[in-house]
Structures are given as C-alpha cells and as structure tokens.
C-alpha cells in the first residue's frame, strides 16, 4: 500500500495536536514522517526515576504500522537512559511489543509511550540487562534485528 506510513502518521500527529497526549508524555518534534522525538516521565514517586525526563526516538519505515517503529532512548545532557533490566545503557529497549513478533498494527506512538511509561513505573530493580556492557560494546545490529529472548515477563 503506497503512502501507508505517511498517511497514518499524519493522522496520528493531528490527533496528538488536537487531543494532546496523556500526562507525562510530550511530543518534542515530528518534523517528518521518518523520525519523531518524545519525552516521557514517570508519574508516581518511584525513586529510580524521580524528577527525571527521558527522551525517546521513534524511527518509522515506509511499512509502518504494518512493521513496528524502532524505538530507543536517547542520551542527552539532561536526558539520561533510564535504569531498567530491559533497557541497555545505549538506549536499546527489549520489549516484546516492539519486536517483530509482539508488534500489532493497532499500536501507535501514544500507546507505545504509555507502555514504556508503565514499564518504568512497575520496575523496582536498579539494574541493567544481563551482559549490558558486552552488548553495548559488540552490538552493531539495528534494534529490530536483534533476537531478544523475552524470558522474564514479570519485569
């Protein structure tokens, strides 16, 4: 379907602009239909994430939303990478929702942000995924091509 992604993203954007996003989620920029940036923060008092804001980068292919977007955290001076057993220190996120298997085209930018928000809210472990250092040093794959093993659904 030609123009699938552009049309759909255009509509997501106009919805965001007219209805605004849920609390704790903010659109930073959406200058084109390839790359958007959003800020998220956790709404409760989870000490791991208190007073921090995190920057998300969405990359869309022409097949979005049939194909999942590539979503990563981006590190900036005032935007750290949140600590979480499923988030590598280079910003790559291991979440089945964003993988080839777990993705569904009824998901959208807003719902992905909300899932990530609740993934942080529900976490109490102050740790990175096992093998973080090694992964960050060695990984040259795009997040969508990494074959994560979703072994721990409780986190």
């Amino acid at each position: 379907m030609a123009g699938f992604a552009t049309k759909r993203l255009g509509k997501e954007l106009s919805k965001i602009n007219s209805n605004s996003l849920p609390p704790g989620i903010e659109l930073v920029s959406a200058d084109n239909f390839e790359e958007w940036f959003l800020d998220i923060r956790v709404l409760d008092n989870n000490p791991l994430y208190l007073n921090e804001i995190y920057r998300l980068k969405f990359r869309f292919s022409a097949q979005y939303p049939i194909e999942p977007p590539e979503v990563t955290f981006v590190k900036l001076a005032d935007r750290p990478i949140p600590i979480h057993p499923h988030i590598y220190s280079n910003g790559i996120i291991c979440l089945d929702l964003l993988g080839q298997q777990g993705w569904s085209p009824v998901q959208n930018v807003e719902s992905v942000c909300m899932s990530l928000q609740s993934m942080l809210t529900g976490n109490s472990r102050n740790e990175r995924p096992a093998g973080d250092e090694e992964f960050v040093r060695a990984n040259r794959l795009r997040p969508k091509d990494i074959d994560f093993y979703y072994d721990d659904n409780n986190v």
Binding site: F4, K11, I66, E67, V106
Partner: protein, 268 residues
C-alpha cells in the same frame, strides 16, 4: 516471441523510463498486429493515464472490457479517467467493480483500489458541496434583495413612523443573515469522524470493513496487509487466517451512508 510481444516489451521499457508517448506509440503498433489482446489495451490505457489523455483511456478500457469483461485493471483505469472527467457516478461504479474483482483475486493492489473508491466519493461530495454552497449563497442574496425591495416600498413616508419601519426592516434583514450564518457554522461544526468508521490500522475511513473473531472490524486491504506479515489477530495476537475474515455488511452500509452526507470524511 511474436512481433507484437516484442513491441509490447519495448513499450514497457519506455514506460518504465517515464517515456509515455513513446510507450503509447509502441503499444499502438502492437495492437495493429494483435487487436484482440486485452493486455495491450490496458498497457496503453496506463500510458495514456500518465499523459492525461482521459478520452483515449476510456476508449482503451472499453475495448478491453469488450474482450475481457472482468479485467481488473481496465475497471481501475477507467475509473481514474472518468473521475478526471468528473463523471463521478461512473467512476465510483467502476472503482467498486475493480474492488470486487481485486478481493476475489486476492490481488495486492487492493489498497490502491480502496483509495480510489474513497477518492471517487470524496470528489463527488466536494463537487456537490460546492454546488450546495453556491445555491445557498444565491438564495441568501435573493432573499435579502427581495426584503430590501419590500422595505423600499413600505417606507414611503418620512418622519417618526418611517424611522420605526426602517428599524423593523433592518432587524428583519439582520435576522435573515443570522439564520444563514448559523446554518453555515453548523455545517462546519459537525465535522467529526466517528471512531466506528475509522480503521485502526491505517486510521483511514473504512470502505470494505471485515470483522475478526474478536468482533473488531478493519479495512480489508489493511488487515490483509498485516496478515501477510503476521497471521495474528491485531488485538489478541491469537492465530488469524485471511479465510476467517467476514465482511461486516451493516458497518459497510453505515460507513457508506455517513460518507454520503459527509464526503469530507474520506480524507479527514
């Protein structure tokens, strides 16, 4: 390979390069040798579509349909040419035929053909809306003119009584303008697309909704595109096959009825 096949392939090469006039000429030569080949007509119609030669597209498609009544491409190109010539009802009819054939053949062009159906409805509505607006504006002008004329005839005297009458007439004129203005505002305000008519995959207005086991409906072209990649229900991720989809006829009718009254919704 026959001479006409060679000419056709040569035409295809020029078409790929964007040389549509050259392609058109080569298809014509091929047709001279093989005048009952439906594909040559749709090839030439395609080139002529790019050249905006709408009448010629129509005659090619009609020739093709004479030979092969269920030719998907001929209906599709015909619809595009008819739309360009503002023959809205004919364009919609052939877009629907193309859609039906496309579903039956499980052809990958379903997304584009679905878009063509919507485009026909949208442009038809735009055209009628423009006419409605013009007619309303004309009516408003006429009513105001008649009132001014009445006013002139009524206010013949001078003095206090005339002033009173003038005020009354001014008030009438103001109210008429207000009524027309309000009608226009109402028209603008009701422009909201109901969620039930929107496909959750493309966020587009639905033309041919199909329903899954979960009771949720999607645009046929969109859910088929998803199933090509992953045979799962988008909501539950349970296994889902294309053969399990069923048309949602009532929703289809409701979408169609809504669009009839609100053509702007086709590309909200």
């Amino acid at each position: 390979m026959s001479k006409s096949q060679l000419l056709r392939e040569e035409g295809n090469r020029h078409f790929q390069k964007g040389e549509y006039s050259r392609a058109d000429a080569l298809y014509s030569q091929a047709l001279n040798l093989d005048p009952t080949n439906p594909t040559l007509y749709t090839n030439r119609a395609m080139a002529r579509l790019r050249l905006s030669q709408w009448d010629l597209v129509i005659s090619d498609c009609e020739s093709c349909l004479g030979l092969s009544p269920d030719n998907l491409k001929a209906h599709y190109y015909l619809s595009q040419a008819q739309l360009a010539l503002r023959a809205y009802s004919d364009a919609l009819e052939h877009a629907y035929k193309a859609h039906k054939l496309c579903v039956a053949a499980n052809d990958k062009s379903l997304g584009n053909i679905t878009a063509q159906v919507l485009k026909c409805k949208k442009e038809k509505w735009d055209y009628e809306e423009k006419r409605r607006r013009r007619e309303t504006a004309d009516l408003e002008e006429e009513v105001l003119m008649l009132l001014r004329k009445e006013k002139k005839e009524a206010v013949v005297l001078s003095g206090e009584e005339a002033e009173e009458l003038t005020r009354e007439w001014e008030e009438k004129l103001r109210r008429v303008r207000e009524v027309f203005e309000k009608a226009r505002e109402k028209e603008e305000r009701r422009r909201e697309v109901p969620d039930w008519a929107v496909d959750d995959i493309t966020f587009g207005f639905m033309v041919d909704p199909v329903i899954t086991k979960t009771g949720k409906s999607y645009e046929r072209a969109a859910i088929l595109e998803h199933l090509r990649r992953s045979q799962t229900d988008p909501l539950t991720r349970e296994p889902l096959q294309a053969s399990e989809l069923r048309p949602n006829l009532d929703l289809k009718q409701a979408c169609s009825d809504f669009l009839e009254e609100n053509g702007w919704a086709a590309d909200w």
